[in-house]
Symmetry: C2
Subunit: 240 residues, 2 copies
Amino acid sequence: MHFTSEQRLDDGVLEREFTLGEIPGTLWTPESGAPAPLVLMSHNNGLPKAEPRLVARARYTAAGGYAVATIDAAGCGDRPRSAADEQARADLRRAMRAGEPVDEIFESFIGPLVENAVPEWRTTLDALLTNPGIAGPVGYSGWMALGIRLAVAEPRIAAAGFFAGGYVPRAQRQEARQITVPLLLLLQWDDEGNPRQRALDLFDAFGSKEKTLHANPGGHTGTPWFELDDGNRFLDRHLK
Amino acid sequence: MHFTSEQRLDDGVLEREFTLGEIPGTLWTPESGAPAPLVLMSHNNGLPKAEPRLVARARYTAAGGYAVATIDAAGCGDRPRSAADEQARADLRRAMRAGEPVDEIFESFIGPLVENAVPEWRTTLDALLTNPGIAGPVGYSGWMALGIRLAVAEPRIAAAGFFAGGYVPRAQRQEARQITVPLLLLLQWDDEGNPRQRALDLFDAFGSKEKTLHANPGGHTGTPWFELDDGNRFLDRHLK
């Protein structure tokens, strides 16, 4: 893991860009520098790690006493995409404009995107845990499809917050019941692209004894600010 | 309003019983004694104000810096019941044992219970606001059917937390969309006596721009402890 840049932000958080082989990442750590629990944070459907809403969430979480890491995994963010992926995304845009069903198109590229991202997140986790500023336990926050796969595959994940606004491939819908760690599921009630009932069905399916659903009115990007605070308190209950 | 007993509890909260004409009530105020925002707290379906879960919630809320008041309104708690009410409750128990539909029975006595309780809660509110230890604004917490009616009828209610585990009469289901104050709806996902879909439909119907649903697994009495804390923070956002 090579740090390529370092910046002290006005909230005291230290923001560092890193590379790990081909994987580009960002690590935010709290002002104190003392070993902090780690939160892996990812944006729905492989959006770039530099996406402003992800960055704002990461900084808020880091200011709350966490080391927060994100990466652009294979095929995600600014990483190269396969011709098939480019084609699928073009098909998706065309189908959405035409009001046609999009599930099969989503399935064709989100499924492999999740499968291919998981090993890179695990490699990153291995490397992060050798950093003296980072202590276990490990939490997860964000992209639900990736989070389901990681929470099932990776025993070091101790708690997870999922955002319901993204496509969840069939494989992850099926393995949802295998999850047993505490969960917080955040749902935007009027998120047009993401049917509410699917999120409620997933909430029902999760195997965790402690799972909480927070739903708020409004569209995909309308999550109220106080959910940031609730998200930190959820992590505090399980990681501190 | 006559205070009939007074007790300083080990969390510093002052607990006072009072009567207001025929209405018996309890008021909990924070240790500081400084004027505090008021929370009206009521238990589903007219259960007694001394019910231990209500008392625990009231004390926790008071310790968080609120004056918390509850009453046994007409027909509620230990107040005398009409012969018709006694009959309805006997019919309800019989129907539940027999696994028969209970909606019409609930409708027949919860509807009037709510209608008759509202004037007494408003009278109590008038009296409470003359107390030097109580300041506006006013919040509500608990029994959803009563809370819907109060939030529609009483402009002094500035925010309301509802617990979904109780029968909501048709009249209140219809007026739910008239509510505009911030809401927190607490739902036990596996509450057998209270169909989940009805609570989700009500959440959808509320007219409030800010409304949040918190759902947790488990039965009617299984609400996790951290929802007490979340409830206080919801009140803090709107009453402090």
